[in-house]
Amino acid sequence: MNKSWVFRYARLAVPLWAAVVACVASNASAEDVIRFGAPLPITGPLAPEAIKQQQGYDLWAEEANKAGGISVGGKKYKVEIVYADYQSNTPRAVQATEQMITQGNVNFMFGAFGSGAAKAASTVSEKYKVPTLAATASSVQVYDQGYKYLFGTFTPNDTLTTPLTQIIKAKVPEVKKVAILARNDLFPLAIAQEMEKSAKANGFDLVYFEKYAIGTLDHSAALSQIKSLAPQWIFVTGYINDLLLVRKQMVDQEMKAPVVTMIAGPAYQEFIESGGKTAENITSASWWHPAERYDGKDIFGSTENFVKLFKAKYKSEPDYGQASAALCGALFQMAIEKAGSLDRDKVRDELARLDAVTFFGPVRFGANGQINSLDPPVFQIQGAKPVVLFPEAIKQGDLKVGVN
């Protein structure tokens, strides 16, 4: 009888004990991990952009963990990135951010994709005082809210359009008339509006400025109208699918111009591959380019090393979105290691004080949290490769006139 009681208790006690041990072990391991929340549009129309950002974060996490993790006060912490899919739906990005902070036990946050979602989600991270690094938010409106915990690695939109306008004005004096066609979305429209200001300030005649709806399947009517106005510079904004479609329909309608600029598709390898010959001589600008050469103090070290690691992992050339995401991780690592603590306020202060050269370029944040230390490159597709035209320090070639 006694034996059977002992046996029964033992049978109960063993799994209970195992559960307690597992719980203690998981708590112990949770303490040795720094969790970074990353709300991304993993499904839906913005999925290609999310995949790029995810690649950047994953590469950084892998490199950080390979080196033993992030060093905090002499102890190494592993990096864990917690992803949440907000299905390309901005209100869900806000919900996902709140859930990660309140239930997901994340220590720090990465911003949602693009300016619109990053701005919306930043209201939550600011409320909970969680330092947030936005990898793909460039519009000044994201940073003019007086927030203290939000930082971004993209310079304002005018840093892309101003050098471009000055190059065209200096090198192609026959360009007088400019036509702008913009995707009716926060970032593409903001870039187009900056271009409008820049064109007017430099004495160009703006003959056309129209927006097209998100998901537009056919641009032939707008392009016919632009063709009838005979502009010498056609400036189109949108994402890769929009720009591939516009470019194809421009060729279909036999539209030619000395200068055609597209933002943001040409920075991606898919644009060059899918566009083929029609991508030739298209100008663009982005926040980073693999041709840059910086010797950084971050985990990746030099730009060349970052490109090498990226190519080894993903078998493709990195673009500015992937690089910026990896940079955000590297910056968090620098700030945490300098703070020597996981205290959110201390890490926030270190981010605000940061002044260092990285593989992405020199990083210093302005009072509003937006980076103000970079000269984004202007480039042109030449011979199926992006060739940097500006800044002078990393220039690879001269502007070629004529897009057929």
Binding site: E210, K211, A213, Q225, S274, G276
Partner: protein, 288 residues
């Protein structure tokens, strides 16, 4: 001349819209099923053309001959094995089922093909033809002719063939068709198979014109829906009329009010039709 260009653009685009919508209209009209998987079938057809051209150098014109039977079998089996089980249930049930199937197919395409945008680029390019300064791209022109041919073939099939007459009979009066000895289950499956085949062929043609990605399926589905409401359900000529009307409104709206408002205008037109002429341009009133 600018007006002539806009008109030509609209006619070409209208035929492509009709091609997108014709299979959707057939399934909705005959089975009373709002087939939400239609957009994903179109995208799958586009991937088929892309794959055959890039891997085996098979021209998209020949890919139509591969897509049609392949998608017919796919649609036939899908209807016979899954949809047929709920075909008599209220429309919401079939709607939910096609919604679920669409999610599965679309996510499978994202998994296998990735969400990246691809482009089928013919080498050498077909170029454009120019008549009195009105430019028409040859690939669009051929796609338009192919779209018209497919529409015409479906029209002939429905009018002249025994199966076609059975489909029309089931569409007009299911019970009477049963009494006349029509195997309704089989006709439903054939109609769904035909709808899928038309979607697959439309996808092959669209691959020549639009970038390919699983994410574009909702755009095609939306256009098909609007075209069906404007043109009228279950009618081949209705899909053509609806496609042309939609393209004209978008083209003219884009020119006069800006491209951002073209979609708004087309949906305003949709609402007007739903209120004033719910049967569409060529549809029959009261038909469910």
């Amino acid at each position: 001349m600018h007006a002539a260009q806009i008109l030509v653009n609209a006619v070409v685009l209208g035929c492509l819209y009709a091609c997108i919508a014709i299979g959707f209209s057939l399934v909705w009209g005959v089975l009373n099923v709002i087939n939400l998987i239609h957009g994903s079938f179109i995208v799958l057809g586009a991937y088929l053309a892309f794959g055959l051209y890039n891997a085996l150098h098979i021209s998209p014109w020949y890919s139509i001959a591969v897509a049609a039977p392949l998608f017919f079998v796919l649609g036939y089996l899908l209807q016979r094995l899954l949809l047929n089980r709920v075909i008599t249930a209220p429309v919401l049930v079939t709607l939910t089922m096609t919604f679920g199937l669409d999610l599965i197919l679309n996510n499978a395409m994202i998994y296998f093909f990735k969400a990246d945008y691809r482009k089928l680029t013919l080498t050498p390019s077909l170029g454009s033809v120019s008549i009195f300064d009105v430019v028409v791209p040859v690939d669009r022109l051929i796609a338009t002719v192919a779209a018209l041919a497919l529409t015409g073939l479906l029209y002939l099939l429905l009018r002249r063939s025994r199966v076609g007459r059975a489909i029309v009979a089931v569409r007009l009066d299911r019970d009477a068709a049963v009494l006349m000895g029509v195997d309704v289950k089989s006709i439903y499956a054939i109609a769904f198979g035909l709808g899928a085949a038309l979607a697959g062929c439309a996808g092959v043609l669209m691959a020549l014109i639009f970038p390919i990605s699983p994410l574009t399926s909702s755009g095609y589905l939306g256009k098909a829906f609007v075209v069906c409401v404007l043109g009228g359900l279950g009618s081949v000529s209705g899909a053509l009329a609806g496609g042309l009307l939609l393209a004209l409104v978008e083209g003219i709206g884009s020119t006069f009010f800006g491209p951002a408002h073209a979609t708004t205008l087309s949906f305003i037109l949709l609402i007007i039709f739903l209120i004033l002429r719910p049967q569409g341009l060529l549809g029959r009133k009261g038909f469910e």
